[in-house]
């Protein structure tokens, strides 16, 4: 029941080994400036650690950033672990370099949205505002 006044809770994490964190840090600031509660878990997060953070933080959204090309290996593992933890209603976003053909694959697996390079920040903010997690809505 938390009213719409309760801030949207977002966990952001870099999964895998790549250290490109310019994008995720810029997004973190924009979401925070838009009034959301943002937890940036940092670099080199394993799928297991990410899902623990999501559970601990009672997040509405999980944003994963990858610019390494390992998205088809790592994202399905995160989705699987979320499912096992009963966290299917957490919305999952992917940001980074994802080839066109892989975007559809990730969305079929259950990713809500893939944001590529050059996405305007207001577009990300609006998307998150428009979709609350079912159990929090």
């Amino acid at each position: 029941m938390p009213t719409s006044a309760a801030p949207i809770r977002v966990v952001l994490a870099k999964v895998g080994l790549d250290g490109h964190d310019r994008g995720i840090k810029v997004v973190a600031r924009a979401l925070r400036d838009a009034g959301m509660h943002v937890i940036y878990a940092g670099l080199w997060q394993t799928p297991e650690a990410v899902v623990r953070t999501v559970a601990d933080e009672d997040a509405d959204w999980l944003g994963l950033s990858l610019l390494s090309g390992a998205h088809l290996t790592l994202v399905p593992r995160v989705l699987h672990l979320l499912h096992e933890a009963g966290l299917d209603d957490v919305g999952v976003l992917v940001g980074g370099i994802v080839p066109e053909g892989d975007v559809a694959k990730l969305q079929e697996m259950g990713v809500a949205r893939v944001f590529g390079p050059g996405t305007p920040l207001p577009e990300i903010v609006d998307f998150l505002r428009g979709h609350r997690r079912a159990s929090h809505a």
């Binding site: 080994l17 310019r22 810029v26 940092g42 370099i97």
Partner: protein, 550 residues
């Protein structure tokens, strides 16, 4: 200064200029620095061409580090390449040499960059994907097989495990009977910018810098033509810094390496000439040119006046440039060809010694052969068709360029002071100074783009509703399996006792102030892996957990 007639001309221009409204907001550089409507002799107070500008090849090297620059020798066209197994990358290297490339530049995959073996669980999905996987000396052998290492200069982009990879390279050269005195090339070996920007660090800052200094010390004595560090602003800029931050943080990193080596008792003139630099070539042509010039002037000044280097070679800042990956867009990717061409022009007008031009498809995937060829052709057109190489430093003396070069020097010095105020390089890293500065700049830039105060073709202006996809390189999924299998075979065949002894020796030496290179050379021959050696060093140095500062 100005005569009576000059004055009236200036006043008339000021009147006429003020009468016409600006096309849009007052212009700023890509870094957000305001730019005046006009630059004139008055923009250059007490500028003395003889001392402030000087001559090419002479202090303060504003006009370039060589007397005749590209009239005698073009820059080295050096395209960064690497993917898949060492054999696949070896094929790409031979392809590039055949197309007229004049030096090699090696990209390693993320597990190798982070010091992990291909069979490490954390490497899953990343083996051979963004670069070539190197686990053992065998891989190093395959990577450069059939290429004469005594002839071709080889650059290797790696940092945290740099000393290990260089040990493999030197061991391989020895096995190929190439004398180390003939080896020409560069190992990036610049760990400080990893803490500021790129995040490929493993050990804490101090032992990390010790490894950098071990490489400098060893090569100074044994591999005299090798560039021991490529002090890099490139990644700082890619992480979102301004041009001045790129310039200042990079030079400050260089000064810290110098301080470390001097504290060991090395002679400045013995090692300073083999320190090299690596800068970004971003969109703003004149800002970039001014950045390269300011970098040369500041480096020369500090090396001569603070460190008292006696040899001109120690004062000369030599640099590689790469066009800005972060400026490439995934919409209308062919337009990237044009961005890259202008960026390459800036690097050449700025006097670079070598250049990598990005391929148009790099926001989508690793470059295809077609895209790499076009990127190399871009440099060849610049070198042979445009005439920019005909005279030395064609932009020198431009009021605008000289005013910006001066401004960059002043702002660079201000950053040197601020770093000192933080307690020096290591303390500034620990306090998150660099990360905060860079993140603030990255955020400010993105806000400018979102507000359409900065326009990007295809992104917030001139979009196409329908785009035709371009063909991109697909990495074969069997690469990881093959590399892991090859590593398994080597581990099964090697002498386990020798491996254990070599690792124990590395651990022991790591705990002393002795140079680690000799122990690592032995470990390379014993077929110790990159991951095993990194673990041995981590046993002594510990691991650094990069704080998630934003």
């Amino acid at each position: 200064m100005a005569t009576a007639t000059d004055r009236s001309a200036v006043e008339r221009w000021e009147r006429e200029n003020a009468a016409v409204p600006l096309r849009d907001q007052p212009p700023t550089t890509v870094s957000g620095v305001p730019v005046n409507a006009l630059y004139s002799p008055e923009s250059l107070n007490s500028f003395d061409p003889e001392t402030d500008l000087g001559y090419p090849g002479q202090y303060p090297f504003a006009r370039g580090i060589h007397a005749s620059m590209y009239r005698s020798r073009l820059w080295t066209m050096r395209q960064f390449a690497g993917f898949g197994t060492p054999r696949q990358t070896n094929e790409r290297f031979r392809f590039l040499l055949e197309k007229g490339q004049t030096g090699l530049s090696t990209a390693f995959d993320l597990p190798t960059l982070m010091g992990l073996d291909s069979d490490d669980p954390r490497s899953l999905g990343e083996v051979g994907r963004l670069g070539v996987a190197v686990d053992t000396l065998e891989d190093m052998h395959q990577l450069y097989e059939g290429i004469d290492l005594g002839q071709v200069s080889v650059s290797m982009t790696i940092n945290a495990p740099a000393i290990i990879i260089l040990a493999f390279y030197l061991a391989n050269a020895r096995n190929q009977e190439v004398d180390w005195s003939q080896l020409r090339g560069t190992i990036q070996n610049d760990i400080l910018k990893e803490f500021h920007a790129q995040n490929e660090f493993v050990f804490p800052p101090e032992p990390s810098v010790r490894l950098v200094a071990d490489v400098i010390e060893f090569c100074t004595e044994h591999v005299p033509l090798w560039n021991t560090v490529s002090i890099s602003g490139y990644h700082i800029r890619e992480a979102g810094s301004t041009a001045v931050q790129e310039l200042a943080f990079t030079l400050a990193d260089g000064f810290h390496y110098i301080d470390t080596c001097l504290a060991r008792g090395l002679d400045i003139d013995a090692f300073a000439p083999r320190l090299s630099f690596f800068f970004n070539a971003h969109n703003d042509i004149f800002e970039e040119i001014a950045k390269y010039r300011a970098a040369r002037i500041l480096w020369a000044e500090v090396l001569r006046d603070k460190y008292h280097a006696q040899h001109e070679a120690s004062w000369k800042l030599r640099f590689h440039a790469q066009t800005a990956g972060c400026s490439l867009q995934d919409r209308q990717p062919e337009v990237n060809l044009i961005r890259v061409a202008y960026q390459a022009l800036a690097a050449v007008l700025g006097g670079c010694q070598s250049l990598h031009t990005n391929s148009m498809d790099e926001t989508l995937a690793l470059p295809s052969e077609h895209a790499v060829t076009l990127a190399l052709r871009t440099q060849q057109v610049l070198a042979y068709e445009t005439g920019v190489t005909n005279t030395v430093d064609p932009v020198g003396g431009s009021y605008f360029i000289e005013a910006m070069t001066r401004q960059m020097q002043q702002q660079g010095r201000q950053y040197f002071d601020r770093i000192e105020q933080q307690g020096g390089m290591i303390d500034a890293i620990e306090r998150g100074f660099f990360r905060r500065e860079i993140a603030d700049a990255a955020f400010a830039y993105q806000r400018e783009v979102d507000a359409r105060r900065k326009l990007i073709v295809g992104i917030n202006a001139f979009q196409e509703s329908e785009e035709s996809p371009i063909e991109t390189l697909v990495i074969d999924e069997t690469v990881e399996k093959n590399q892991v299998a090859a590593l398994g075979r080597i581990k099964a065949q090697r002498d386990a006792l020798a491996v254990g002894q070599a690792l124990a020796k590395v651990r022991r030496v790591a705990g002393t102030s002795e140079n680690l290179m000799p122990a690592l050379l032995e470990a390379a021959q014993a077929r110790c892996t990159v991951g095993e050696l990194m673990n041995a060093l981590a046993d002594v140095f510990g691991r650094y957990d990069g704080a998630a500062k934003w």
